[in-house]
Amino acid sequence: MAILIAKKVTKQFGGLVALDRLDLEIQERSIHSIIGPNGAGKTTFFNCVTGFYRPEEGEILFNNHSLVGLPPDKIVRLGISRTYQNIRLFPNLTAMENVLVGLHGHLKSNFFGIVIKSSFTKREEAEAAEEARNLLRFVNLSGKGDFLAKNLPYGDQRKLEIARALASKPKLLLLDEPTAGMNPKETQDMMDFIQRLRDELGITILLIEHQMKVVMGISETVTVLDYGEKIAEGSPGEIQRNPRVIEAYLGRGSAEEVAAA
């Protein structure tokens, strides 16, 4: 069953067509990658799904619920969460606070409850702290909860961003280049981690990725974008053999290289 369906989504910036009647279906509990050269419209699509941009035309359905026109805070409450290409943590908050902000939508305490510290608020805060600690442990950041986010090393910041995204209890997680700037070992760890997210938590993963090893290694379906259009879709094997993809995305010279890999 498809968890996310995009129908003829078009997004323009002035004269530039960033997304051109894009059709896309993401199956539930799948790991789906979107690839394409720089400027192909991958991140634009993410921004349309999460409510940062409003597409001019087309429709985006999440569990048969239309997302177009909803603000980002409503969309995350429906169960879609994301990370960013250039990490966007809350730099001057601690790691713990970052995750707790992710939990925001699930907390209900109001102003007066907080000021008088009602038993409800107390319990809710304790539960939230416990959950945040669990999430930090899940991404291997236990013990680093009191660090300011900006002082964490790069790899930990990526993990923290995922922990924060997970805190909102998403059904669909959008990861924008999660392995950017990582060495082979870290990349492998991240791949295993993404698979765990799907297998253990049952989260559907939509992935933008440039490293072919990652794309081919973990995704079940790959969609290729070029100039805002979908030029191919299929299993990693099919995509690797698709001559149009090799030409458009990797350039003519790289065809043999891909075949060799």
């Binding site: 606070e97 000021v115 300011l148």
Partner: protein, 571 residues
């Protein structure tokens, strides 16, 4: 020659640091003299008849500039650092000599009204010109050298030099605070008579004070650590007793404070307290939520005017008591906070600052207008506002109003603390850090922003209501934009988002100038300088949040061990 030239070049280029820093010092000392600060402060002595505040000002600027020079050139070697600070010291005083000579030939007074013979006499230490110039030059060098030396020294010697000098300086600056306070305590009054003269410390008093404080600090550094360790090693319940004892002492001190301080200082304290209330409110808007609000005085005015309209016998519209008017004033503040918030929801940064600045002025001009004169009194303001009272106890004198303000501060601190570590506080701070991502994390920007504006405005209106009852009258000119600026400044200087920072900032920027009457004229200048210096040297503020301070000033190893202990205690 050739072989040596690279090294001599190297030395020359590293001496540039001293020259550059010294030039800043030169400009600074000349500026301080020409704007009249030296002269204004020379009326007051740190040590009676020995050193005036004006001279101290110059010495301190020379000292800090030389310290800077040493700091910046320490990588080039110790001797060069010392040389650089010496150079900068000579430059700082040399520029004053140039000023004196220039003043002798050209009439500077047509531009710089303060470049008077009195100033030159002060700069020459009252000596005849030849000796004076030599002395001045010499003093500059000594200060530079001394500062460089102190920078290089570590441990005991440094402590034993800085602590007595620092304590004498502080005692001298705060003499108006310390003398009457000590005098109020029977046995201590003799001590105070002996340490202080009518103007500055006595020489013997200064010596005794310096010596006794350095002995005290020596003892503390020997015994203090084991004492602290002792307290830490105490069992939970015993440690709790210690905390409670400390807390009770603090409460007791806060309660008796106005009686120790007397009328004038209590008055200062109430002004500081009102600013703390304002600061804590703006701290929520600016410090937590990151919304730069420059029209904050508007809510202060709304709180004050609401109280005035409801209680004033002069107007006679209503006859509320202070206590029944207070909640209405706060509600009016909250309401207008939301009202201001709605149109500026989409604005960020500079645009928000400008829009709110306008709002502050709109309120002031409305109050001043002829149109509203029948209700708000126009420029004449509203008088005959009754004092707050409980039973027969009336909050009339500063010593009594102090308690009202103290209660307000405690309430506001309590609410701020609770909010800070909550869902709402985190939402504010997330919004401050990255508005878009905060929204993508499920934070409703509209309600979160409006809540910040409303909370801040409520605190401000509370302050305004107390202000109205304290003065007994309200005038439009009490609510000009300077109040907003003062509050923003004290938050920045104290440390954004830090509650103790607001208090420290209020005491430093509002309390200190009241104690140093000569300051009044230079208040804005000092604010500006303080802001620039803070941004350059201590951007996190005087008393930043605990987390931020730890992250900026502690070893990573210590942090890790801290974390692990907290982790185990948490689980």
């Amino acid at each position: 020659m050739r072989k040596n030239s690279p090294t001599s070049k190297g030395i020359l280029s590293s001496l540039k640091i001293g020259l550059k820093t010294g030039l800043v010092g030169a400009i600074l000392t000349v500026l301080l003299s020409l704007i009249g600060m030296v002269e204004a402060f020379s009326q007051r002595y740190i040590i009676h008849e020995v050193i005036s505040m004006g001279h101290t000002l110059l010495l301190l600027s020379g000292y800090f500039i030389a310290d800077r020079a040493a700091r910046r050139s320490i990588s080039k070697g110790k001797s060069l650092a010392l040389l650089n600070s010496l150079i900068s010291g000579f430059l700082s005083s040399g520029s004053l000599i140039l000023l004196i000579f220039l003043g002798a030939f050209v009439n500077l007074r047509s531009v710089f009204i303060n470049a008077s013979p009195v100033l030159y006499q002060l700069l020459l230490f009252g000596e005849e010109i030849r000796t004076g110039v030599l002395l001045l030059f010499f003093v500059g060098g000594v200060v530079g050298f001394f500062s460089g030396l102190l920078y290089l020294l570590t441990g005991w010697i440094k402590k034993l030099t800085l602590i007595p000098l620092g304590s004498i300086l502080i005692a001298g600056v705060l003499q108006d605070l310390l003398r009457p306070t000590l005098a109020a305590w029977g046995p201590l009054s003799i001590l105070s008579e002996w340490i202080f003269t009518a103007n500055g410390l006595s020489i013997s008093g200064a010596i005794v004070l310096g010596v006794s404080i350095s002995i005290g600090s020596l003892l503390w550094s020997f015994k203090g650590k084991s004492l602290q360790r002792g307290i830490k090693s105490l069992s939970g319940s015993k440690r709790k007793i210690f905390t409670y004892a400390g807390f009770l002492t603090l409460v007791f001190l806060l309660l008796v404070l106005p009686h120790l301080l007397g009328l004038f200082l209590s008055e200062v304290l109430t002004i500081v307290g009102l600013y703390i209330l304002l600061g804590l409110g703006l701290n929520i808007v600016v410090g937590y939520a990151g919304l730069l609000d420059l029209g904050y005085v508007a809510f202060f005015a709304i709180g004050a005017y609401t109280t005035a309209i409801l209680t004033s016998q002069e107007l006679g519209f209503f006859h509320f008591t202070f206590w029944s008017a207070l909640p209405i004033a706060i509600l009016m503040g909250i309401f207008s906070g939301v009202l201001l918030g709605i149109p500026v929801l989409k604005m960020r940064g500079d645009y928000l600052a400008i829009a709110t600045l306008g709002f502050g002025e709109i309120i002031r001009i409305l109050v001043l207008s002829d149109f509203l004169r029948p209700w708000l009194g126009g420029a004449q303001g509203i008088g005959k506002i009754p004092k707050a009272s409980i039973g027969s106890f009336e909050f009339a004198r500063p010593q009594e109003i102090y308690y009202l303000i103290l209660a307000g501060c405690l309430l506001v601190v309590f609410i701020s603390l609770r909010l800070k570590d909550s869902r709402i506080g985190r939402a504010w701070m997330a919004m401050r850090e990255d508005e878009d991502v905060a929204q993508a994390m499920g934070i409703n920007l509209v309600s979160t922003k409006l809540l910040a504006f409303a909370t801040g405005a409520g605190f401000s209106a509370l302050s305004g209501a107390i202000f109205a009852s304290k003065l007994g009258s309200v005038y439009p000119h009490s609510f000009n934009v300077m109040i907003s600026i003062n509050v923003v400044c004290l938050i920045i200087v104290g440390g954004m988002g830090s509650i103790p920072g607001v208090m420290v900032g209020a005491f430093a920027l509002v309390g200190l100038p009241e104690l140093l009457r000569e300051f009044a004229e230079y208040r804005l200048l000092v604010y500006g300088a303080a802001l620039v210096v803070m941004m350059l040297l201590k951007p996190e503020g005087l008393w930043p949040e605990a987390i931020r301070r730890r992250e900026l000033h502690e070893e990573p190893g210590e942090k890790l061990s801290n974390d692990s202990t907290q982790g185990t205690s948490g689980s």
